[in-house]
Amino acid sequence: MTSTTAAAPAPVAKPAQGTTGGPARGVRRKWTEHGLVFVAPFLVVYALFLIWPLVSGLGMSLTSENITGSGGESVGLDNYAEAVRDPDVWSSLWNTVWFTVLSTVPLVVVGLVLALLAHQLRVVQWLWRLSWFAPFLLPSGVVCLLFLNMIFPSGFGLADQLLATVGLTPEIGWLTDERYAMLSIVATTVWWTVGFNFLLYLAALQAVPAHLYEAAELDGAGAWKRLLHITLPMLRRTTGLVVVLQVLASLKIFDQVYIMTGGGPDESTRPILQYVYQQGFTGYRIGYASAVSYIFFALILTVSLVQPLLSRRRAEEAAK
C-alpha cells in the first residue's frame, strides 16, 4: 500500500527515506493518506459479516443454543462428540466430497478444452467466448429451475426428448432416481459454471510467449507435440489454481441440491451445508448446526492450505 504524495513525485531512482514510499520528512501527512481510510469500508464489512460471525459461531458450537438465541447452556464439546457419532454428518459429508470429485474433473478438463478451442479458432472468437461464459452469469435459482422444469422432467423433459430422437424412451428419473440424481446435478453445475474456468485458461493461454511455439515449429514439432510439451506445461500453474478454486467452490454445493432434489431421493444427494441448514433452521438446533459447520470449516481450511504448500514445493523444485 504505497501512497503517493500530494507534492511533486520523488524521482523513482532515489528511494524515499523513513517509511517505505512515504512522504519526505517535515511534510505533515493528511489523514486521508493512510491507506487504512480506503480499506476501512471493507474492514468494517469484513469484521461485521465475517470475523464476528466466525467467532460467535465458534462460541455457539459449544452451547445448546436454539434458533431463538436462548436456551443456550454451555455443553462443552458435546455437540462435536454428537456430530462425530452422527451418521447423517458422515453421509452428507461424503455426498459433498463425492460431488466435488465428480464435478471438479469435468469442470477443469472441459474448461481447458473449450479454452484451447477458442484460442485456436481465430474466427468469431467473441462468439465462443460469449456463449461459453454466458451461463455463468445466470443466478443459481434461474439455472436450477430451468433444469428442474425443462431439462430433467421424466418423459417430457428435454433430456428424455433428446433420447427419444435416437429411438430411446426410457423415461429416466434424472433427479428422482438415486442412480442419476447426483450426476444430473453435476451436469447442471458443469453447464452453469465451466465458463469461469474457461476464462482463466484462456487468459493463461494468451500469456504463453509466441516465440516458444515458433522455436518448436522450427525444430519440427507438430501441433500435438506443441500442446504436450509447451502449452500444458505452461498452464501448470493455472491448472493448480483452477483445481483448488474449483474444489473449494464444489465443496460449498447447496443451491442446486436445495432447489432440484431437496437432498433426495432418500437423502442421497444431501450435502453437508444442507444438513447444517436442516439442523439449524428446521430443527432449531443452532448450537449443533454450528458445530457441524466448524467440522466442515476444518475440511475447507485444509484444502485451502494445501494449495500454497503444493505451489511452493513446485517452486522449490524448479529452483533446484
Binding site: 486521508t32 468494517v44 431463538t68 436456551g71 452422527d86 421424466s154 428422482t176 438415486e178 432434489t261
Partner: protein, 446 residues
C-alpha cells in the same frame, strides 16, 4: 495546490464513515413484525399465516369480509411460505417478544413451539364472551391445544388424508353404485378395486407422491394405515418409541406389493401425481383434501371420500390448522381483544374456509346447511372423530423433522430402494435419534 484528486479522497473517506455507520446501525434490527400506524381510533391487528394457493384465496376473502364488518380494527395480514421456513420466522419473532398479535400454526407442532415462552395463552373468558366455547369442538382436538393447563391453540379445522376418485374411471371399472364409490372394506378389497381400475384403463389404479424434495406423502400413507392397525408411533406423552414392528411391517409390505404389482405409480413427485390424476386415466389419488380446488378448477370428474379402513379402524393421518398468540412482552388490552375477535369470527364463518376442503373444527358449522351443501367437501366430515394426529413431541407435526425424515425413508419402500424391513429399521433408528435429542425450544408449559 490541491488537485481535485484529494477532494475525491475526502469524499471517499466520508463515504467510508457513512458506510460504517450504516453497518453498525443495520446490524441489530432483529426480527419483529413490522408495525404500521393504524388509522385514528383503530386497533392494529397483525396476523401471520402460511396459506397459499386455493387456501390463500379463501383466507384473503374471509379477511376482507372481516375488515368490512370491523371498521375499528386495522387488520394487517402477512402470507408467508408454507413449511419449515414459516416456523423459523414465527419462532424468532416470538423470541424477541415483538411478534404479530395472531398467527396460524399446525396443531401437532404445538409441543415443539415452546408454549408459555414463544406463545401466550388464550383468554377463555374473552372467547366465551365472543360465543366460542370448549364444548363447540371435538374434545381430542381441543385438548391438543393445551399445555400446562392453559389453552395455547384454538383449532380452526382438521385436514385429513383422503381418497380422491375419478368417477368416470370408477364407473367403467364397476366400482360405483348410486353415484358414489362402493364401500371398500379391507386391504384385499382395495387391491381388487385397483386391479379392476387397471383393467379398465391400462394404467395403475392409484397415484400418490412417492418421491421428491421433502416429500411427505409416504409418511402420510404409512401413518394413516398404521393408525388403522391400532398402533401408535410414540407413547401418548410423546417421550418413548412405541412402534409395533409386526403392525408396521404389515402396512409397509402391503404398500410395497401395490407398487410391485403395478397397481400404483412407482416414481412420481407431488406435482407429477396431481398431473397424472388430472390426466383422467387413474382411478384413485391419495392426498390431503386441500387439492380439491385444483381438481375443481380443471373440471376433472371426481369425488372424494374418507380413506377406507384397510387394516381395522377407519383412522386417517391428519393435522389441524390452529390459531396461536405469539408471545408479546405486553400482550393485553385492545390488540389482544382484536386477536380474539378475529379468531371467534373465523370459527363462526368457517364455511367459507371449508370450501378449500378442510373440515371445520367448530362443530356448529358441521350442521350448517351451507356446509352440507358443499360437495364433495362435506362427504368426509365424519372423519373429524377418527383423525390420527402425531403424538405430542417437539419433532412432530406438519413440515417437522419427523415427517421429512420418515417421508424420505418410506419413499424408499415405494420406489423400491428399500425393503420394508430395512425401512422399518431405519425409521426406528431415526425416531430414537429424535427422541434422544433434547427439545431445542422448551416452553414453560411443555
Amino acid at each position: 495546490m490541491q488537485p481535485p484528486l484529494l477532494s475525491r479522497r475526502r469524499a471517499l473517506a466520508g463515504g467510508a464513515g457513512a458506510l460504517a455507520a450504516a453497518g453498525a446501525l443495520g446490524s441489530l434490527s432483529g426480527c419483529a413484525a413490522p408495525a404500521t400506524a393504524a388509522g385514528p381510533g383503530q386497533t392494529l391487528l397483525r396476523y401471520w399465516h402460511l396459506f397459499g394457493g386455493g387456501d390463500g384465496v379463501n383466507m384473503r376473502g374471509m379477511l376482507d369480509d372481516f375488515r368490512a364488518g370491523h371498521p375499528d380494527i386495522a387488520l394487517e395480514a402477512a402470507t408467508l411460505q408454507w413449511g419449515a421456513p414459516y416456523y423459523t420466522k414465527l419462532g424468532m419473532a416470538g423470541a424477541g417478544g415483538r411478534a404479530p398479535e395472531l398467527a396460524a400454526l399446525h396443531l401437532a407442532r404445538l409441543a415443539g413451539f415452546a408454549p408459555g415462552r414463544l406463545l401466550d395463552p388464550f383468554d377463555l373468558d374473552l372467547l366465551a364472551g365472543l360465543g366460542v366455547d370448549e364444548k363447540d369442538f371435538p374434545p381430542d382436538i381441543w385438548r391438543r391445544g393445551q399445555a400446562g393447563g392453559k389453552q395455547y391453540a384454538v383449532p380452526l379445522d382438521t385436514h385429513p388424508f383422503v381418497l380422491y376418485y375419478q368417477t368416470e374411471v370408477c364407473e367403467k371399472a364397476g366400482l360405483m353404485s348410486g353415484g358414489r364409490l362402493k364401500p371398500i372394506s379391507g386391504a384385499d378389497d382395495f387391491a381388487d378395486a385397483l386391479r379392476a381400475a387397471k383393467k379398465a384403463t391400462g394404467q395403475p389404479g392409484l397415484v400418490t407422491e412417492t418421491l421428491g424434495p421433502d416429500c411427505i406423502t409416504p409418511w402420510r400413507l404409512f401413518s394413516s394405515f398404521y393408525a388403522q392397525t391400532g398402533g401408535t408411533v410414540l407413547s401418548p406423552d410423546g417421550k418413548r418409541l412405541a412402534l409395533d414392528d409386526a403392525k408396521a411391517l404389515r402396512v409397509l409390505e402391503y404398500l410395497a406389493r401395490l407398487v410391485e404389482e403395478g397397481l400404483m405409480v412407482r416414481r412420481v413427485d407431488y406435482a407429477g401425481s396431481i398431473g397424472v390424476f388430472n390426466g383422467g386415466k387413474t382411478a384413485f389419488h391419495l392426498n390431503g383434501e386441500w387439492e380439491i380446488t385444483t381438481f375443481k378448477t380443471t373440471g376433472l370428474p371426481f369425488s372424494m371420500t374418507r380413506i377406507p379402513a384397510l387394516f381395522g379402524t377407519a383412522a386417517t393421518q391428519a393435522d389441524c390448522h390452529a390459531f396461536v398468540l405469539p408471545h408479546q412482552k405486553d400482550r393485553g388490552g385492545a390488540t389482544n381483544e382484536a386477536a380474539h375477535t378475529l379468531v371467534a369470527w373465523m370459527l363462526k364463518n368457517s364455511v367459507a374456509w371449508a370450501q378449500g376442503g378442510h373440515v371445520p373444527a367448530y362443530l356448529p358449522v358441521l350442521d350448517d346447511p351451507a356446509y352440507l351443501a358443499l360437495k364433495p367437501q362435506s362427504e368426509y366430515r365424519t372423519v373429524i372423530d377418527d383423525v390420527a394426529l402425531d403424538e405430542p413431541a417437539w419433532f412432530a407435526g406438519s413440515a417437522s423433522r419427523l415427517w421429512i425424515e420418515l417421508g424420505a425413508v418410506f419413499s424408499g419402500v415405494l420406489t423400491g430402494s428399500r425393503s420394508p424391513r430395512n425401512a422399518l429399521t431405519e425409521a426406528k433408528a431415526r425416531l430414537r435419534t429424535l427422541l434422544d435429542t433434547r427439545n431445542p425450544l422448551p416452553g414453560a408449559a411443555s
